[in-house]
């Protein structure tokens, strides 16, 4: 069988060798607790502070604005629930978000609603972009937090975060953006765009699973999720995971160093893959094709197929893609994201997300462009039978 093709970088990425190397000392000689007063503690503390500074530089932020977390889900929960609870304390009663957010944001917003928040969902355009007029109408001066992802994880559609952040600020609302898929794919600068909170995740950019960070602009009030020691200014109690903080900093720097060249490379590969697939499957639907898109995600629906069966057939050919959101048992179900932008059910349940990254090259594109149309033809034959 030909070389396997991993087209699921939006699910996770392999740890980069440089990252693995950078974190090694903290499992061995530099194992100390950063809160300890002795030499071991100091060594760990210095590494942690440096990691914080490095991540801050990557985001155009101050080091004290960076809080390390266990990953994207914790970052999103801390952002949405933390800002909601702090906002509630000063009389704000609503939470605004979009229906295409990651579940970590949506479920946090639902939790806020159970705590009394008025949960408002921004209308989506059919292109896959949150509607500006709807956002404007929903973000009134009673909003505690508005949360809009920067790049959608299923479609790659880039959301108008700079405009929304500015508008939220005018209304006195805290603005959070989930930038888990956006980091290193779109330009992010806290000095240029007035978001208050921003989430990133390590394992999407070559760091291990289990680490993420939150940018928290100075002056932004949040209530912590955890209660304990005074680590990270009390925002995130618990002994810091120094090795993983170092890993995240290293991965973030490498991703930004490669940002321009890698972005162009992935966009070219993605465009070529899209062109080949459209040419070979004329009725293929490219989801969010009219939206500005991040370079690494291609989401397609083929009428008359079903993503679950296609993903299985692709895997048996050594090609890894994903469908909608995966549920705990590992089944695919119709994408709630695509449904939310008005994609009809027969296409939302036929969606295949191909996400490109470090492991993607021309040969991979050629192979997928060769195999995918054949599997589609086969699947349609079965469906018609």
């Amino acid at each position: 069988m030909p070389a396997p093709v991993y087209l699921d970088h939006s699910a996770t990425t392999p740890v980069r060798p440089e990252v693995l190397e950078a974190m090694q000392p903290f499992f061995g000689p530099r194992f100390g607790n950063p809160s300890s007063i002795h030499r071991w503690g100091r060594e760990a503390r210095v590494a942690l502070d440096e990691a914080r500074e490095r991540v801050a530089r990557c985001l155009g932020a101050h080091p004290d604005e960076i809080c390390f977390t266990s990953g994207g889900t914790e970052s999103d929960n801390l952002a949405v629930l933390g800002a909601w609870r702090a906002g509630r304390a000063r009389g704000r009663r609503a939470v605004v978000t979009t229906p295409i957010e990651h579940k970590a944001v949506l479920e946090a917003a639902h939790t806020a609603a159970r705590e009394g928040a008025d949960e408002r969902l921004v209308a989506m355009t059919a292109d896959g972009v949150a509607d500006a007029a709807s956002f404007d109408a929903l973000v009134r001066d009673d909003v505690a937090v508005a949360s809009v992802m920067w790049v959608n994880n299923e479609m790659g559609a880039i959301q108008p975060v700079p405009e929304f952040a500015a508008l939220a600020h005018e209304r006195g609302a805290v603005f959070h953006t989930d930038a888990v898929q956006a980091f290193s794919k779109v330009h992010i600068d806290a000095a240029a765009v007035p978001f208050d909170i921003l989430s990133i995740s390590g394992h999407k950019i070559g760091a291990p699973k289990g680490v993420g960070a939150l940018f928290l602009r100075r002056g932004t009030a949040i209530e912590p999720l955890f209660h304990g020691g005074s680590q990270d200014r009390g925002r995130r109690p618990g002994t810091e995971n120094v090795a993983y903080a170092v890993a995240l900093a290293t991965a973030a720097e490498l991703a930004l160093r490669d940002h321009d060249a890698e972005g162009r490379r992935l966009a070219a590969l993605r465009d070529r893959l899209q062109q080949l697939l459209v040419a070979r499957i004329p009725d293929l639907v490219v989801n969010a094709r009219h939206a500005p898109r991040a370079p690494h995600i291609l989401n397609v629906s083929v009428p008359g197929t079903e993503s679950e069966s296609l993903l299985m057939a692709l895997d048996l050919q050594g090609i890894a893609c994903s469908g909608g959101s995966a549920c705990q048992s590992g089944t695919a179900s119709p994408s709630y994201v695509l449904s939310a932008i008005g994609v009809p059910p027969h296409l939302a349940s036929a969606a295949i997300r191909m996400s490109l990254g470090a492991l993607t090259d021309d040969a991979a594109v050629d192979r997928v462009a060769d195999v995918f149309p054949r599997l589609v033809a086969k699947a349609r034959g079965v469906a018609a039978a």
Partner: protein, 363 residues
């Protein structure tokens, strides 16, 4: 490598061993676990069909070095199996959902999935055998599951592999140990219906139809002469031949002999009133050449019941009437009547009605 086979894996020992044996025989095995209904918190301890079972199936496949997939068949299963289950109770019948699951879910929908991945074969862990294209009882008569398989499309028989069907359960467990499938080797048997937590089918009816479902509403216990002898809290809680939950004070043991959804009555009577001299079955499906009127065969009216000698007295589009040589007890509408010639499964149908062997004696 031999042809590809899609193996339906529940995470239990039988289907795990089925997969392992096929790997051993050189097949290109693809494991699949069907997710058939929503796994609520209430069923975490179930040995089958829970997320744990999916994990077990995945681990077995990993041990075997074959791919494993979870297939979401929830909406079709809900429609084909659970809806029918609930409406059968509403009609005063006792449904047998495993038959419909085999007919529609495993050997229709799953076969479609097999087509999608170019699998020539479909395999399960059923205790039944396909011999020369004809379905037979499993070699282990205690475990025989042929009773549940009569409804499948006859054409599928030529693609079915039932690797444990000629083994005993003990042999299957031994194979599991030999092949290192410790995860599943000593799993307890799953006895209940997979989507009915704790055997409480009223809970399923309530969740589908609401607490005011007619089949769960109070009604009367009556004798065959119409005398009211008590109250029950829903005819769906009863099946023909049941003794539990009936009013006492009778000189002989009493049994449920009929269920009348129209007036929500549960009819009870002595053992003699359970006897049937014949039956009518509908939705008949043949897995062999259909017999002619006058043909002698054996019919089994319940899982684990002995097969009874009978003669075909009427046969028309999808419906059959049989006369039994000797009366059979508790012939229950909704259950299956499966027709056998020795170990060969000829076909089957859903029991519509029983012919009473004995009219009630009215004093």
């Amino acid at each position: 490598m031999k042809e590809r086979v899609l193996v339906a894996m529940s995470g239990g020992v039988d289907s795990s061993v089925a997969a392992a044996l096929l790997v051993e025989q050189g097949y290109d095995v693809v494991g699949a676990t069907m997710k058939l209904f929503c796994y609520g918190d209430e069923i975490v301890d179930r040995p089958c069909c829970s997320l744990d079972s999916i994990d077990d199936a995945r681990r077995v496949c990993e041990t075997l070095g074959v791919p494993h997939y979870v297939l979401n068949l929830e909406s079709a299963f809900s429609h084909d199996v659970i809806d029918d289950f609930v409406s059968e109770y509403a009609r005063g019948r006792t449904p047998i959902p495993c038959v419909r699951c085999n007919t529609f879910t495993k050997f229709r929908d799953l076969v479609r999935r097999a087509d999608g991945v170019d699998a020539r074969w479909i395999a399960t862990g059923h205790y039944a055998r396909v011999v020369d294209g004809v379905l037979h009882r499993g070699a282990d008569r205690d475990k025989d599951q042929s009773y549940f398989l009569w409804g499948i499309d006859r054409a599928v028989l030529s693609r079915m592999l039932l690797p444990v069907g000629h083994r005993t359960k003990a042999q299957t467990r031994a194979v599991a140990h030999r092949l290192g499938l410790a995860v599943v080797a000593e799993k307890p048997e799953s006895q209940d219906i997979c989507f009915v937590p704790d055997g409480d089918h009223a809970k399923v009816i309530r969740s589908r139809l609401g607490a005011d479902a007619s089949s769960l509403a109070p009604g009367a216990f009556v004798l065959s002469d119409g005398a009211v002898v008590g109250r029950h809290d829903g005819h769906a809680r009863f099946t023909i031949g049941q003794r539990r939950g009936l009013p006492g004070g009778f000189p002989t043991p009493m049994f449920v002999t009929a269920i009348r959804p129209a007036d929500r009555a549960v009819v009870i009577g002595p053992r003699e009133e359970l006897l049937g001299s014949g039956l009518v079955a509908r939705e008949v499906n043949w897995l062999a050449a259909p017999p002619a009127v006058g043909t002698r065969l054996h019919v089994q009216v319940r899982h684990r019941a002995p097969a009874a000698a009978a003669e075909v007295v009427r046969l028309e589009a999808g419906e059959i009437e049989l006369a039994l040589d000797e009366p059979v007890s508790a012939i229950t509408p909704g259950q299956s009547a499966v027709f056998y010639d020795g170990d060969r499964v000829l076909g089957g149908g859903f029991i519509e009605s029983a012919a009473r062997a004995m009219l009630p004696v009215v004093a």
